[in-house]
Symmetry: C2
């Protein structure tokens, strides 16, 4: 029996539920001084060996100077043609989420980090392909932006696993995804 | 010197930041069994003696069978004409928030509960008239609905006062409103 590789959304959100401003800006997040341990992110990185993200998130990462580790494969979901120049370790995928996740889970490995954005998260949720959410709630209201989950009525029950409070007012909520329905 | 009567938003929100579905439905919230102490609500009610809400919230409260205590005055903000039949203790107001809040704070009394909805909250925020937010985060994603803060870009810094976790997975985040700007 293989171990179950979990797919985990580990993401920061404003206290009013946005992962970025409408134009992708996250200055409200990146302008914060990073505390020691980076909100548990360093520990989390040791539990995953695969990244999954949407194309906009990938491009935003590139703009922010993000580097990709060839030892930690990155899958970028994109409906369009992949760019000509892709860093080592990055693979563009355009197929269905279900078979992709099944294949990924058949290979032994650590957990999988689903980085976002909101559209990919909702597609994975609809495919019943997310195990956990770790939401780092930043103590700021930004008023409008890209929601954590792309907007469509749903009812997804969560089971709270833990709550961690950091000195700077960040609160990390760790949820397991329970039964859900696509409609309300 | 009079004591400072705080204006507090005490509200439940889904884990994706909505206070109700788009049509006002809160079945995802009311269908939960109420635990002993009702998430600290009973204790909170002892610290306030005045309610403030928008007209839609007032009407939703009436539909849900809410009763108004004449000893605890309720102010309903409404741009339209007040209804002919208003319960004892309820007063309709249509003026500016600034002078209203100033008058309220000049009278001695306990704290003031700003119940919502999102439009009134954002108007009070813009008038620098909210001291604290107590957000009870329900462990459920509803995907779309009325946001905690009506949608308009802003940057409101919050200071986390406390985090309380309840057995059923509800997490109560208590914030103080810090400096803010209306724009980003």
């Amino acid at each position: 029996m293989t171990n179950h590789r979990k797919i985990i959304v580990h993401i920061a959100a404003s206290a009013d539920g946005y992962i970025a401003r409408s134009d992708g800006d996250i200055e409200w997040l990146t302008s914060r001084p990073a505390p020691k341990g980076f909100y548990g992110m360093n520990a989390f990185m040791k539990t995953i060996d695969t990244l999954v993200m949407g194309r906009l998130t990938y491009e935003a990462g590139l703009r922010l100077g993000g580097r990709f580790d060839p030892k930690r494969p990155t899958f970028v979901f994109s409906r369009g043609a992949p760019p000509a120049d892709v860093p080592a370790g990055v693979e563009f995928v355009s197929g269905e989420i279900g078979p992709f996740v099944e294949q990924l889970r058949e290979r032994p490995g650590k957990d999988i980090w689903l980085m976002g954005g909101g559209d990919l998260i909702v597609s994975f949720l609809d495919a019943q392909a997310i195990d956990e959410f770790v939401v780092s709630v930043v103590p700021v209201f930004i008023g409008d932006g890209i929601p954590l989950i792309a907007r469509r009525p749903r009812l997804t029950h969560l089971s709270l696993q833990s709550v961690e409070r950091f000195d700077d007012g960040m609160v990390q909520l760790h949820y397991e995804v329970q039964n859900q329905s696509r409609s309300r």
